[in-house]
Each structure stands twice: as structure tokens, then as C-alpha cells.
């Protein structure tokens, strides 16, 4: 029982990380209709900037604004210099250009930081494990869950309750009308792109002390992020939230419980091999299943 609870927390933690990435991706697609493959690079930029700042200052608190600012500014610069010219083009051109950006960012990081992974120490206050009564759980992972859920709440308020959010929603469904009403949709696009990059950078800087900060870390998680966006429904932030949690929980549960279940049915080593195979495919099977039943995803955004 405690194992199930612990694994649910692990799933939740993976889920909120995926949400932070998926939110930006789905916003950008929903409002600008751009498929941004380089979203993972912004995650990497956030992680590297935070790792660098932490190393320079020795303070994780200072690393947070550094990572956020670097990711958001890079995001806005990318929008202004590259993405802006692609709105009118078809998706293939966008994919090609943003794939180019991935290569560009990876090589730039190699030039600046080298190929060796960087390591960020967990802030001492969060380095231990917290006793939750039934089992101890790493304080830092709890912190990620809290920060992720708070960001999701803040994003919800921003989109549903503020003027900027209203424009974002309107821009997603009635782009021309918003433009006709005198709103600078280009500025709005830059801001939304920057916001998405900010969230990706936030995920990146939080991942730093947990994983190793290395070139290509963005691509590893990007594929899973796309699965989240597709399951949630393109352009829907709420969809991204629920689908991120779903993917996080399904992926973790399959890895955690499938080996035991299969071991009850067949020989140990065969069960382990089969379980690792199925759990690697798990979320993609889930995606296929969702698309069969609801081809537009669980929470379709705009038409």
C-alpha cells in the first residue's frame, strides 16, 4: 500500500514536470499554430543557465531567476528572429526550422560548456528525505510537485482571470477578430512564446539537481511532452494538465508494478524483459488508445 502511494507521488512528480513543458508547447500551438520542436532546447537553456549561475554564486536561490530569465529571453528572441517568419508557412517548414534550432542550440551549448554533463547540488534545506508518516520521500521531489501545482494554478488564473489571458484565449479562437480590434497580435505572440519558454526553463532548472544537465536533455523529454500534448488535445492548457498527470502516472506505474504482476505469471528473467519492453511502449499505447476513442484528444482546444 505504501509502495503504491509512493509510486503515485513519483508519477505526480513526473506529471507536473511534463505539464510545465507541455503547457508552453500547447499554448504556442494553440495561439500561433506553430509546432515548436525546439521547445526542449529552451528546457535545456533553463537548466544550463541555472547550473551555471549556481556554480558561479553557490546559491540555488539565485540560480532560479537566472534560469527563468535565460529561458524566457531565449524564447522571445527565437520567436522574434525565427518563429515570427513561419506563422504563414505550413507545418513542414516549421518542423524543419525548429529542428534546425535544436541542432543550433546543442552545438552552442557544446561550445560554451563542453560535452561533459554539469551537476547542480540540491539546496541543503531540501537535500534530505521527509517522513510522510508511512514512508520517507525526498524533500526535493515534494518541492517539485508543489512548485509544479502552484505554477499550474497560477497559469490557470492568468489565462482565465486576467486581461492578458482573455487576449490569449481570444487569440487562440479568433485570431483575425482580435487583430481587427486593435490588439498587437505580434506582441501577444512574443509574450506567449516567452511565457511558454519560461515554463520550460522552470522545468529545466528544477530538473538540474535531480538529473544530469547535459546536451540533448531536451530531446529526451520532448517526445514524452508531445505525447502529453496530443493526448490532452492540441491547444488546450487544461488538457495538457490532466494528460500530463495521466502520462506521468501511467509511465511510472507500468515501470513500477508491471514486473511484479508479470513475475506472478512467468519466469523471472522473461517477466523482467517483457515488462521493461511494455513499460517503454506504455505511454505510446495510451496515446494510440486515446486517439482511437477521441481523435482530437481528451480536451480538444479550439476547432
Amino acid at each position: 500500500m505504501t509502495l503504491i502511494l509512493e509510486q503515485l507521488l513519483n508519477g505526480l512528480q513526473l506529471g507536473v514536470m511534463l505539464f510545465l513543458l507541455a503547457a508552453g508547447l500547447t499554448l504556442v500551438f494553440g495561439i500561433m499554430g506553430v509546432i515548436n520542436l525546439a521547445h526542449g532546447s529552451l528546457y535545456m537553456v533553463g537548466a544550463y543557465a541555472a547550473a551555471f549561475a549556481a556554480k558561479l554564486t553557490g546559491s540555488f536561490l539565485l540560480a532560479i531567476p537566472a534560469g527563468l530569465a535565460a529561458a524566457a529571453l531565449t524564447g522571445m528572441a527565437v520567436e522574434y528572429l525565427v518563429i515570427r517568419h513561419l506563422y504563414a508557412r505550413d507545418h513542414l517548414d516549421q518542423v524543419l526550422a525548429t529542428f534546425g534550432l535544436i541542432l543550433f542550440f546543442n552545438q552552442t551549448i557544446i561550445l560554451l560548456f563542453g560535452r561533459q554533463p554539469l551537476f547542480v547540488q540540491i539546496p541543503p534545506a531540501l537535500s534530505g528525505a521527509v517522513d510522510l508518516g508511512l514512508f520517507p520521500y525526498p524533500a526535493y521531489r515534494l518541492c517539485i510537485i508543489a512548485a509544479g501545482l502552484l505554477s499550474a494554478g497560477a497559469l490557470f488564473l492568468l489565462i482565465q482571470r486576467t486581461r492578458l489571458g482573455m487576449l490569449v484565449r481570444a487569440g487562440a479562437t479568433h485570431r483575425e477578430m482580435v487583430q481587427a480590434l486593435g490588439v498587437d497580435i505580434r506582441l501577444l505572440s512574443t509574450i506567449v512564446f516567452g511565457l511558454g519558454a519560461l515554463l520550460a526553463g522552470f522545468a529545466g532548472l528544477m530538473a538540474g539537481p535531480l538529473l544530469s544537465v547535459q546536451v540533448g536533455m531536451g530531446e529526451q523529454i520532448l517526445i514524452l511532452t508531445f505525447v502529453v500534448v496530443v493526448i490532452g488535445g492540441l491547444g488546450s492548457v487544461a488538457g495538457a494538465f490532466w494528460s500530463a498527470l495521466l502520462v506521468g502516472l501511467v509511465d511510472t506505474s507500468l515501470r513500477a508494478f508491471l514486473p511484479q504482476i508479470l513475475r506472478g505469471m512467468m519466469a523471472g528473467s522473461e517477466a523482467d524483459a517483457l515488462a521493461s519492453g511494455i513499460s517503454a511502449m506504455g505511454v505510446y499505447l495510451l496515446m494510440a488508445l486515446v486517439l482511437l476513442i477521441k481523435p482530437k484528444g481528451l480536451f480538444p482546444g479550439h476547432a
Partner: protein
């Protein structure tokens, strides 16, 4: 020519080695002494000129870029260090090392070896770090009559039936790393194991190798994804399974991530960890820091070994490079010494592979790891040691040697080799 010859003669007399190789004299007795002198002079001249102007070329194909780049860098630098310590020579023979980066790409390694052998006429090759590159390069090198001395990769396929007279491994056979970890766990008195490795050939070999020597029960066996770097789900399983210890093999960044997350979960104090040396070297230790304290490691060498050869090596390394010294460095250094010992006996000749082999197999050098000899499959027969990460005098964690795990240990595949 006459001028160059006198110069050569002077040079050659300083190096007595070629004297043994004086050509057979086929002339009549009356002219014998005079002609012999002339022939000897000519021979000296040729040999001396060759030595003075063209040192023996050794081709080094190694991995210098990517996350595993420091492995090749340490092998290259330690190999060069051995040459520098012998005044630019190995076994009294001037050598020149040609170094190329394979980028951990088997295809690239193959191209480099072809270039070395065909364009640069290199006969003696070394340097490869990763087994997948070695498996692509080594068979070709041997096929074309080259000699290959491995400072790191020792894949099982080349250790058993496919063993080769011109293929030597100075480091270890891959499985030995994990077998020694299994023996280490036995010695530490652990009974219940939980073992993890990535789901790819080397990961499967790691778990097989471990199980070959471990005498207790394996209560959990998990294959992680190769590109996985968050192990929360696996760590929760370990906590629930309550093993005596875990054995894990995750090369590169994933291994560092695993160890940090394991420590963050508060498990390192409760459930000890046993790892083979590639999971814990001086560089990874520096990256992980205090989180690694308490981890059990098994290896064939450590920087604190108390023998003269090792002390000289560690001192020279720190003086020249002043950076953490790894197993890979020790293997690169030993490889250079092994080659040097053979060259000394053959007088710098590598064309006669048979003579080189006789000399090489004597392993007449003082290895920095202490005991060393070649087994029948030309892989090492050596001692394995148990080590632990502890806090050093200055507070920074160090790897401390505790004692021997096994002595004169060969490898599992040697019995299949018919050399």
C-alpha cells in the same frame, strides 16, 4: 651518404640493440673481417637512420568527445606520460603516438584504423575505450596482420573462441568487472541482492556477470531504459523489496543521476550499494561529491596502491596533469609499459608478430596494479580489490582500498580459447 653514415654509426653505437640483428655474412673467409665491418656499418646506418628520423608509430584510436570523452583523454595522457617518463621512448625504442578520436562511433573507428594501417603504415594499434567500437575495429586490424593491445574494452566475443594471437587486453575482460562485484558482495556478507542495469547488451552482460559469482539470492532484477535518467519508480521498488544491498551498473550521466537520487531518497544509509569500477571513478566521484560516501567499489587498481611503480605513476600524473586520476589512466599507463617491455626484447621490431608475441606474453614490466600476467587468451590474470568511498583527510570523498577480493583471477571465457 658517407657523412650521414658516420653520423649514424655514432648514433647506433649508443644503442646496442640492433647489434644482435647483424645480417648473415655470406662472403669468403679471407675478406670476412673487412666485409663484415662494412656490412655491419651499413646495417647500423640503416637502423640508426630509421631510429633517429622515424620513430616507431603507434596508432591510438580512442574516444575523446562526448560524455565518455574523459575516458579516452585519460588513456591517451597516461600513455604519453609513460613515454615521457622514459625520455620519449618505450623500452628504449623511440615511439610516436598518432591519436584520433572515434567519437564513440564504430564506423568512424573503422575509418581511422584503415587510415592508420594503409596510409601511415602503422602495425601496432591501441586505445579503444568502448566495446562496440572495439568489435568493429579489432577484427579488421587483426585480419590485415596488425597487432592490437587494448587499454580498456575487453568484449566477451573476442575473449573466448574468437581469441587471436595478435590481440592483447591489458585492462580486463568486461565480465570480470561485474564478477568481481559479485565476489565483493559475497565477501561483504550480503545475501539478498536487488540488481539493475540498462536494457542493452552491456547491461545484460553486467547482470549475468554479477550473478555468475554472487552466491546469495537475487530478489529483484530490473532493466531500466537506456536513455532513462529519473529512477524514482525503481528506487521505490528497491525500498519495498528490502534487499541487503543493490548492485547497479549505469554508465555515464545516468549512473550519476541514479546515485544522487538514491542518496536523496535516503536509501544509501539503509541499503548499501555495490558497483563495478566504471560506475565510480575519480571523475564521477568528483561530480557526485559527498553523496557517494559509503558506496562499495571493486577494481583492479586504485590510486592509493602501495607499490613503487604506482607511486611514481601517481606522482608524475599529478605533476604533469594535476587532475583526478582514473582507472582508465592506470590502464593506459600499463598498456604503454606492456608494449615497451615487448619492444625492448624485439629491439623495436613489430613486423614479426610471432617474436613480438613471445616478448609481449612475458609481461616483463612493473604494473601499477601490482600482480599482472597474461592468461592463455591473452587477457589479464590479476588481483581484484575491494574499495569503499570514504571521506578523505580534507573532507572530500576518496576511494579507499580495503583489501583483496580475489587473487590471480582470469576470466570466464579463457577456457574456450585455443591459443
Amino acid at each position: 651518404m658517407a657523412h650521414r653514415c658516420t653520423l649514424c654509426l655514432g648514433l647506433a653505437s649508443a644503442t646496442p640493440a640492433p647489434l644482435k640483428k647483424t645480417p648473415q655474412v655470406l662472403w669468403g673467409d679471407d675478406m670476412k673481417s673487412m666485409r663484415m665491418m662494412a656490412v655491419a656499418a651499413a646495417a647500423f646506418c640503416a637502423a640508426g637512420a630509421a631510429q633517429a628520423q622515424e620513430p616507431l608509430k603507434i596508432g591510438m584510436i580512442t574516444t575523446l568527445s562526448g560524455p565518455g570523452g574523459y575516458l579516452g583523454q585519460d588513456i591517451r595522457d597516461a600513455f604519453q606520460l609513460a613515454i615521457d617518463m622514459q625520455g620519449g621512448k618505450l623500452g628504449g625504442v623511440p615511439v610516436q603516438v598518432l591519436v584520433e578520436d572515434d567519437g564513440l562511433k564504430p564506423g568512424q573507428g573503422k575509418q581511422i584504423s584503415e587510415k592508420f594501417m594503409k596510409t601511415d603504415k602503422v602495425k601496432l594499434l591501441t586505445g579503444i575505450v568502448f566495446s562496440n567500437v572495439a568489435l568493429a575495429v579489432v577484427p579488421d586490424v587483426l585480419e590485415e596482420g596488425g597487432i592490437y593491445v587494448s587499454p580498456n574494452a575487453g568484449p566477451s566475443t573476442l575473449a573466448g573462441k574468437e581469441c587471436h594471437a595478435n590481440y592483447y587486453v591489458v585492462s580486463w575482460q568486461n565480465d570480470s568487472l561485474h564478477e568481481s562485484a559479485g565476489s565483493n558482495a559475497n565477501n561483504l556478507g550480503y545475501k539478498k541482492a536487488f540488481i539493475l542495469a540498462p536494457n542493452y547488451p552491456a547491461g545484460k552482460d553486467a547482470l549475468e556477470g554479477f550473478k555468475r559469482t554472487f552466491k546469495g539470492d537475487v530478489i529483484g532484477e530490473v532493466f531500466t531504459k537506456l536513455d532513462q535518467n529519473d529512477f524514482a519508480a525503481e528506487i521505490a521498488q528497491i525500498r519495498a523489496a528490502k534487499p541487503d544491498f543493490i548492485f547497479q551498473f549505469h554508465p555515464g550521466g545516468a549512473g550519476i543521476a541514479f546515485l544522487r537520487q538514491y542518496q536523496q531518497a535516503g536509501l544509501l544509509e539503509q541499503i548499501p550499494m555495490v558497483v563495478p569500477s566504471p560506475s565510480m571513478d575519480a571523475v564521477t566521484l568528483k561530480a557526485i561529491g559527498e553523496a557517494a560516501v559509503g558506496v562499495n567499489v571493486s577494481a583492479q587498481w586504485n590510486s592509493d596502491f602501495d607499490n613503487a611503480a604506482n607511486k611514481a605513476f601517481v606522482d608524475a600524473w599529478m605533476k604533469k596533469y594535476n587532475r583526478p586520476i582514473t582507472y582508465y589512466a592506470s590502464q593506459g599507463f600499463d598498456t604503454a609499459l606492456a608494449i615497451g617491455a615487448a619492444l625492448k626484447q624485439t629491439g623495436g621490431k613489430v613486423d614479426d608478430a610471432k617474436a613480438f608475441r613471445t616478448a609481449m606474453l612475458k609481461a616483463d614490466f612493473a604494473s601499477v596494479r601490482g600482480n599482472f600476467k597474461f592468461g592463455n587468451n591473452q587477457h589479464p590474470v590479476q588481483d581484484w580489490y575491494s574499495m569503499k568511498v570514504v571521506k578523505g583527510a580534507d573532507g572530500a570523498p576518496i576511494i579507499k582500498t580495503n583489501g583483496k577480493i580475489s587473487s590471480n583471477t582470469g576470466d570466464f571465457y579463457a577456457k574456450d580459447c585455443k591459443l
